[in-house]
Amino acid sequence: MATSSLPKADLTSSGRPVFLPNEIECSILSSVDLECDDIPNFPLLKSGLLILTTHRLLWLPDNNPSSSAAAAAAAVALPLSFVTHIFSTKKSVKTLFHSPRVRFQASLDPSKSVVMTAVMRGKGDTDAFLAKFWENWRARAWENDVQTQTQAQTAVGSSSVSGSGPASGSGGFYTREGAVRMVGVSGILRKEQEMWESTDKSLQEAFQDLNALMSKAKEMVILAEKMRQKLLSGSSSKSSATNDDEVGSKEEMQDWMLSVGIVSPVTKESAGALYHQQLSRQLADYVRIPLERAGGMINLIDVYCLFNRARGTELISPDDLLRACSLWEKFDVPVMLRKFDSGVMVIQNKSHSDEEVFARIKALVTNPDTLRTGISASDAAMTLGIAPGMAKEHLLTAESKGLLCRDISPDGFRFYVNLFPEISTDDVYLVKDYGIYNTWVRVASASRLE
C-alpha cells in the first residue's frame, strides 16, 4: 500500500497557511470536503477551508470545535504541479440537487494517478473557483520561481503578506496571454520599471527630433547669413542708378530678417574672446524695440526671456546677460542697467528721465478721485502704460523722494500725495488757502457729505 498521502501544510500560530515564496492566495471556499476514493485510508477531510493559490491547493480544517471529526484532520496541501487533469463539470439533473463538485486528477507519486473530488457544501461560487483553478494550473507559476527567486527575495519580505489580499483576486502571476500580471509589491516594482523604461524610450525619441531641429536651424542661419552678405556685396558693386532699388530691397530684407529674430546669433564660437562685447552690442540693438513698447523700462528678467526667445538657439545664461549689460557702461549705447533699492533690475533708455515719470505720477495722484482714495501699483501701471512691477518701483522711488506717502491697510498697499510738508506743526488746525492740502481738505469733506 503506497503511503501516498497529501503533503502536510504548515500553518502559522493563528491558523493561516505558511505560503511559499511568490505564492499568492487566490480563492477561498468554506465547508468543502476533500475526497479521494482511489487512496485507501485517505484521511477524512470534511467541511474544511479550501484555499486555491498560484502554487497549491490547500485544505485547512475548520476550527469550529463543534465538528469534532474535522478537528482530528490536519492541514494538507496539494501542489498544483501534481495535478494532471481537471475535469469540467457536467450540468445534469443530478448536479442540480447535489452539492457542486470539482474533480481533478493528480499524481501523488510518479507511478500512480488518483482522482480527487472537492465537494462544495458551502455557499461559494464553484464555477468561478473552477475557472481560477484552471487558470492557476495552466499558469504554472511554480516554474518561474527559479528565475524570479532572487528578485522576489529582495522585493517581497514575506509573500504571505502579499498573498493575503482579497480572496477573489487575480489568478496568479501570469495571465492566460502570458503577460506578467501586476500583483503584490513585486508587481508594483515591475510596473515602475516598465514605466521608467518607456519614459526613457520616449525621451530618446524626443531628442532625436530636437537634434534634427537644431541642424535645420543651423542651416537657416547659414542661409540667412549668405543672403545678407549677398545684399551687402550687391549694393556696393551696382551703379548709383539702381542704388535706390537695392537699398529699398535691402532694407526690406533686413526688416524681414529682424522680425524673424536675430539673423546670426553671436556665439561663443564666432566671437571667441570678444563674446561678451559682441553680445553686449547685439543686446543693445535688440532691446530698442521692446523698450519702446514697454514705455522705456523693462525688467531684466523679461529681457532675458525675450532675448533668448529671439535667438532661438545658442541661448545665453543669466550671467551672460548681466555681464553684457554691465559692459554698456564702456560703450556709447543708448541703454543702461539700473538697480532699484528693492533689488529689482531693469534696462532703461539713457534718455529716460525719472523726473518725467514723477511728473506723471504727481498728475495722477492729485486728481479729485485719487486725492481721496490714493492709487495702487496696478492703477499706476494702467495709467502710465507700464508693467505693474515697474509701476511699483516708480511709486517707491517717488515715495523716497518725498512725493508720495504709503497707506497700508486691509484694502492693500496704496500711495497718496504727500501732504505732510504742508501741515503746520505750530497750528495743526490751520489750512492755507492754497496748495494741495487745501484741495485735499475740500475734496475729503465733500465726499463725506455724499
Binding site: 496704496r414 497718496y416 501732504l419 495743526v428
Partner: protein, 180 residues
C-alpha cells in the same frame, strides 16, 4: 470739524497715510511730530494719564471714518518718541503701559504751588487724596490727577523744602504738610 468726544480733530486725522508708519526719513519725522503733539493735546483735554498700548480704549489710535488704525509698531514708535522727549514714561518693562506727562512733573509742581497759594493752604495739612479730589481741587487741573504723577510733583516740592510728606493713619493714604 470732526470730533472725538469733545476734542476737535485736525483735518489730517482723516488722511490715511497718517495711520501708516512712514519709512522715508523726512516724512517720518513730520509724522512723529504731529502724532506726539496730538497725543499730548488729546490727553490733556481728556485728562488721560495712562495709555495702554494694546487696549482699544485709547480712541485716538484709530479712525473709524477712514477705517484706519495704528499698528502696534506705530503706536510703540510714537509713544517711544514721547518717552525720549521726557513727556512720557513706560510703566512696565514690556512697554505695554505708558504714563503721559502732558504737563511735565515740574509744571505739575508749579501748579500745586499756585493751588496752595490760591487757596490759602500755606501752613495747612492735607491728604494726598484731598489734593486730587477735594472740593478745592474742583475746576482745577489737579482734579483727578494721576496719583503717581502727583506724588512725583509733591516730592519735587518736598526737595525744595516747600512741604513734607508723611504717612497717614491708613495704610494707603499719605498726608502733606505745606510750609510755603
Amino acid at each position: 470739524m470732526q470730533k472725538l468726544g469733545d476734542f476737535k480733530l485736525p483735518h489730517f486725522f482723516n488722511y490715511p497715510p497718517y495711520f501708516t508708519l512712514q519709512p522715508v526719513r523726512d516724512t517720518r519725522e513730520k509724522q512723529v511730530q504731529l502724532w506726539k503733539d496730538l497725543i499730548l493735546d488729546y490727553c490733556r483735554t481728556q485728562k488721560i494719564f495712562v495709555i495702554g498700548l494694546e487696549e482699544e480704549d485709547f480712541a485716538l489710535f484709530s479712525n473709524p471714518v477712514i477705517e484706519r488704525s495704528l499698528s502696534h509698531e506705530a503706536r510703540a514708535a510714537f509713544l517711544s518718541a514721547l518717552v525720549s522727549e521726557g513727556r512720557a514714561e513706560w510703566l512696565d518693562k514690556g512697554h505695554r503701559k505708558c504714563l503721559i506727562l502732558w504737563h511735565r512733573v515740574q509744571d505739575w509742581a508749579d501748579i500745586i504751588f499756585r493751588f496752595v497759594k490760591d487757596n490759602g493752604l500755606e501752613d495747612s495739612v492735607m491728604t494726598v487724596e484731598e489734593i486730587r479730589s477735594g472740593i478745592e481741587s474742583r475746576g482745577t487741573e489737579l482734579h483727578g490727577i494721576d496719583r503717581t504723577i502727583l506724588m512725583r510733583a509733591l516730592r519735587v516740592l518736598e526737595q525744595k523744602g516747600k512741604l513734607a510728606i508723611f504717612k497717614g493713619t491708613s495704610a494707603d493714604d499719605e498726608g502733606v504738610k505745606f510750609s510755603m
